[in-house]
Structures are given as C-alpha cells and as structure tokens.
C-alpha cells in the first residue's frame, strides 16, 4: 500500500540498491521496507538489476558497431541460393575442360567467408563474395563430388542476359571450367555447375560476369586472401 512514507523513501531505493545510502538513512529505509511489501518488492527488483551492473564495461556504453549494409543482402543471396538449389529443376552439367582458365585483368577487392571452419576439402564450403557493386549479389556453395566439385551458384542484381562463366582455380596455373549460365530475371538466377577439379585442391572460385571478374579464394587460401585486393594475371 502506498503511503506518504513510501513516497518519501521511494527515490532513495536506487542509491540503496547500489549500496550508496549513508548508514543512518539505510537503517531508516530498511525499517520502512520491513513493513511495506510494495517498497520491498521494488527494492528487490532494483537489487537484481544492480547485481548485474558489475558485468558491464562502461567503456562500451557508446554506440555499438552496426552491421555493414551489405550483410543482409549477402545473407539473403546465400539463402536464395540454397533454396533454389534445393528445388533444382534445371541441372547444368558442363564441361570438364582442364585448361588454363582464360583470365581477365581485374582489380576487384574481394573477400571471402569460409563458414564451416574447415581447412580444405571439408564436406562443404559456402562462399560469399563481398565488396560487390551495390545491388549485386553472388553466392556459391561448392560441394565435393566423385567427379570433382559441384557448385551451386546464385546471382542477383546484374543485367539480365549476362553470361556468367565459372572457373575453379587449382594449384599453380591449373584450373577447371565449371561451365557457364546466363543470368535472367526471376527463377533463372541460379545454377548448379560442376568442375573436374577436386574441391580440396581448389584455391579459388572465379566468376566472370560480363566484363567483371570476381574471385573467391577457397579453403586455406581463403584466410590469406581476406580483404586483400587481387590482380588477376592473364595465364
């Protein structure tokens, strides 16, 4: 029940919970709490909050870092790729050409996430291309297969009709074409490709989309490539 006494004591409850109340005031307040379940409940609740305060670091009360805007797009692209590859109705099984990949000079800054934390040739690596032009999303999921590697590709935001050629780069100058697909609006923006190169030996996944080249390092190479600008050398 709220009384004049409660009003008198209420605003001291914060200092009380933090252990800041001078002794005589604290004794007076505790006497009131004895006979006032309302104030006692409020005190208990604030004490529970006060108990948690020492965990926090006041140097971290400033604004928290915000996720980069492209993170949401990247996640949506990867989920889109997974969804479409699940209900795959069009399978592209293209060439095993183990030729040196015809590379185009490019200076795209790309970074890559190998999400499963495996070193090389684990069961599956999901890679996502970062630092793509605004609005463009490319995602790929290479999976080891008996013939080499199956790659689920997903592309969004580039001009309809753009030819996307996909390569896997192996050690040294070896490489394997994984085939190509044409990007179209809606439905056809993903493809399942395959390459003869063993995923565990693959160093990078290369996508030529129109005149742009995007590289995603794979496996243990990925770590070293993070956030480093890359120049493609013609082979």
């Amino acid at each position: 029940m709220k009384t004049e006494r409660c009003r008198e004591w209420r605003e001291a409850l914060g200092a009380y919970a933090l252990g800041h109340l001078p002794d005589e005031e604290r004794v007076g307040l505790e006497a009131h709490l004895e006979g006032c379940p309302d104030c006692q409940a409020e005190a208990d609740s604030l004490l529970a909050i006060a108990e948690r305060l020492p965990h926090a670091d006041p140097a971290r009360f400033g604004p928290a870092p915000a996720p980069p805007p492209e993170l949401g797009r990247r996640i949506a692209a990867t989920i889109g790729a997974e969804k479409r590859s699940r209900r795959r109705h069009r399978r592209l099984r293209l060439g095993l050409g183990l030729s040196g990949a015809t590379a185009v000079a490019a200076a795209a800054v790309l970074a890559i996430f190998v999400l499963t934390g495996n070193e090389t040739g684990g069961p599956e690596q999901r890679v996502a291309f970062r630092s793509l032009p605004a609005g463009v999303a490319i995602a790929a999921t290479p999976e080891p297969r008996a013939f080499g590697t199956e790659i689920h590709m997903y592309v969004a935001g580039i001009r309809s009709g753009t030819l996307c050629r996909v390569y896997m780069r192996g050690p040294g100058r070896t490489g394997a074409s994984a085939g190509s697909f044409r990007y179209r609006w809606g439905g056809d923006d993903s493809a399942v490709l395959s390459a003869a190169l063993d995923l565990s030996r693959a160093k990078a996944l290369v996508v030529h989309a129109g005149n742009r080249t995007f590289v995603a390092p794979l496996g243990s190479a990925a770590a070293a490539f993070i956030d480093q600008p890359q120049e493609e050398e013609p082979t």
Partner: protein, 169 residues
Amino acid sequence: MAPGALTRERDIREAYTAHAAELYGFAVRSLGDSGLAEEAVQETFLRAWRAGDRFDPQIGSLRTWLFAILRNVVIDLSRARAARPGVAEGGIEPSVEPFDEALLAWQIEEAMRRIGEQHRRILVETYYRGRPYAEVAEELGIPEGTVKSRVYYGLRALRVVLEEMGYED
C-alpha cells in the same frame, strides 16, 4: 511444425531486421573482430533458415533462439580460429571471456545505450566511477537529492529496457 516457425525467406528477412544489429554488436564484442562477427551473424541466420521449422515461439522468443544459435556459431568459430592462428590479426583484441559472461555484459551495455543520456550519465558517475553524490550534483548543477532520484529513475529505466529486450526469458 509450430505456428510461427521460420519457413519463408521473408521470415528470415524480418528476423534479420529485428535482431541483426544486436547479434552483430554482440558478436563483435565477443569475437573482437568485425570480419569474424559478420561471418558469425551470416552463419547464424543461415542455420536459423535451415532449422526454421524447428523454431517454436511458444518455447522461447526469437531473440533467445537466435542467440542460442549464435552461441554455437561463436564456439565453432573460436575453435576454427584457435586451429588457425594469425587469421584474426589486427582490430580489437579478442575478448577472452566465455560466451555467457560476455552475454551478461552485453545485455547491460546494450541496455545502457538504450536509456536516456541523463540516466546513463548519472549511473556512470555514481556507480562506475564511484563519485560522491555531492560532487556529481555540483558538477551537473543540480541538488544532491536530484542525483539520488536520478539514480532511482535510471535503474528503473534500465529495468524497463532489459524487460523490453526480452532478456528475462
């Protein structure tokens, strides 16, 4: 499948809008590296998408569920990083606190960000800096009694924000 399960891409998009900032902020704090934090948040939403039909809002909030997934992701990432030293060089020194301790800290820090500047300031000065109320009162040009009542309303604000954030479940 429970009603409220996350089965559509739209559900994940909405979950992202509602919770990504918080998950990311926490991941940065916990992993000490913004690149790893992005990786962790991405993996969290992918796992949520794959397991979306198992999410049941009757059992716990979406936030709690996502943080539980993030917990596993962070543990996996920390293991992978331990096995691959040198990957996360640069940036903020990674926190060595275990996940749960970091989460306790994060909850209060996030709540502190959400309460008003006046309330935050009074709690920082009196509690974290341990300054006498009289000194704080003089600095702020307010009566000492007002410092005391602001401490009370600051703690209450913190309590309200923590409840709103669903940290109690």
